[in-house]
């Protein structure tokens, strides 16, 4: 289709790579001439998905986290994936305040934050196969003016 640019980033599941992933997606998305608010939305959502891959996907093990980003004329599509433990009940996992790790002071709001900041969030997961979160953000369209953070 109208694919304009594409990048794939793979890194090990170290928490210091959370900020690295944010800078990278921000630098890539900046080619779309987004507003600061849009960049901030994308960074926040990617940060949530990458953190989940590290904490929940791989827990204390090491593994690869992948961020695939594609620029289309009107939108950015970001896929964050891991090959970790997977999610048993996706619907339950996406509910606000649900967390499987309250002992780590997780708030259970990660998916809700992704949904708030992106225009569409889809989750694909398989037990012991891994999880993929696909997020879409429309950039510079008229609908942005109705949205929150422009």
């Amino acid at each position: 289709m109208d694919k304009i640019n594409e990048m794939k980033l793979r890194f090990v599941s170290k928490s210091s790579n959370e900020s690295f992933a944010r800078v990278t997606i921000a630098a890539f998305a900046s080619q779309m001439d987004p507003t600061l608010g849009e960049i901030s939305d994308i960074k926040t959502a990617v940060s949530e998905a990458v953190t989940n891959a590290i904490i929940h996907g791989y827990e204390d093990k090491m593994g690869y986290v992948e961020v695939l980003a594609t620029i289309f004329s009107d939108r950015l599509v970001v896929e964050v994936s891991d090959r970790g433990r997977g999610i048993e009940d996706i619907e339950k996992a996406r509910q606000p305040l649900y967390t499987s790790k309250p002992e780590l002071e997780r708030s259970g709001m990660g998916f809700t934050v992704m949904e708030t900041f992106m225009d569409d969030v889809r989750v694909v997961s398989g037990i012991n196969q891994g999880t993929k979160v696909i997020m879409i953000k429309y950039i510079g369209s008229l609908t942005d003016n109705i949205g929150g953070s422009k």
């Binding site: 921000a26 939305d41 708030s107 809700t112 708030t116 953070s149």
Partner: protein, 135 residues
């Protein structure tokens, strides 16, 4: 020739107007502990913030906590976990948790999470001190 013998960390401060590393400072105003966060609060830096604040909260004469996030350029839901955890500690003491200088991005996270049910937002640190401590 320009001098380039500087640590890059200081320059990364400017990436997307945010610092890579979190900086924490605190001051005490009677029974209020004021903690200021600068930089990015994510899962990676949240452990540090938690340890820093809880160590100070070991002092039982502290009743209220104000967290100033004027210079916090990034926060995700890992930060919510930190705030909710500190709220529980302060609540047990019958104190209040206030957060001052909330940016638009962080405000949206507070709104969707319902955080405003448990913390009070303040335009600035002075307003927070005035309301919570009466100064």
């Amino acid at each position: 020739m320009k001098n380039t013998n500087k640590r890059y960390g200081t320059i990364l401060h400017f990436i997307g107007q945010e610092v890579m590393v979190l900086q924490i400072t605190n001051k005490r105003v009677s029974d209020i502990l004021v903690v200021s966060l600068e930089g990015e609060l994510d899962h990676h830096t949240s452990g540090e913030v938690r340890k820093y604040i809880d160590h100070l909260l070991d002092d039982p004469t502290i009743k209220n906590l104000i967290i100033d996030i004027k210079k916090l350029n990034f926060m995700d839901s890992s930060g919510l976990g930190v705030l909710i955890g500190r709220y529980k500690i302060i609540k047990k003491r019958g104190g209040k948790l206030g957060v001052s200088n909330i940016s638009a991005q962080i405000d949206r996270i507070f709104v969707v999470s319902g955080l405003y049910k448990i913390i009070k937002p303040y335009e600035g640190l002075q307003q927070a001190l005035k309301d919570i401590g009466g100064y």
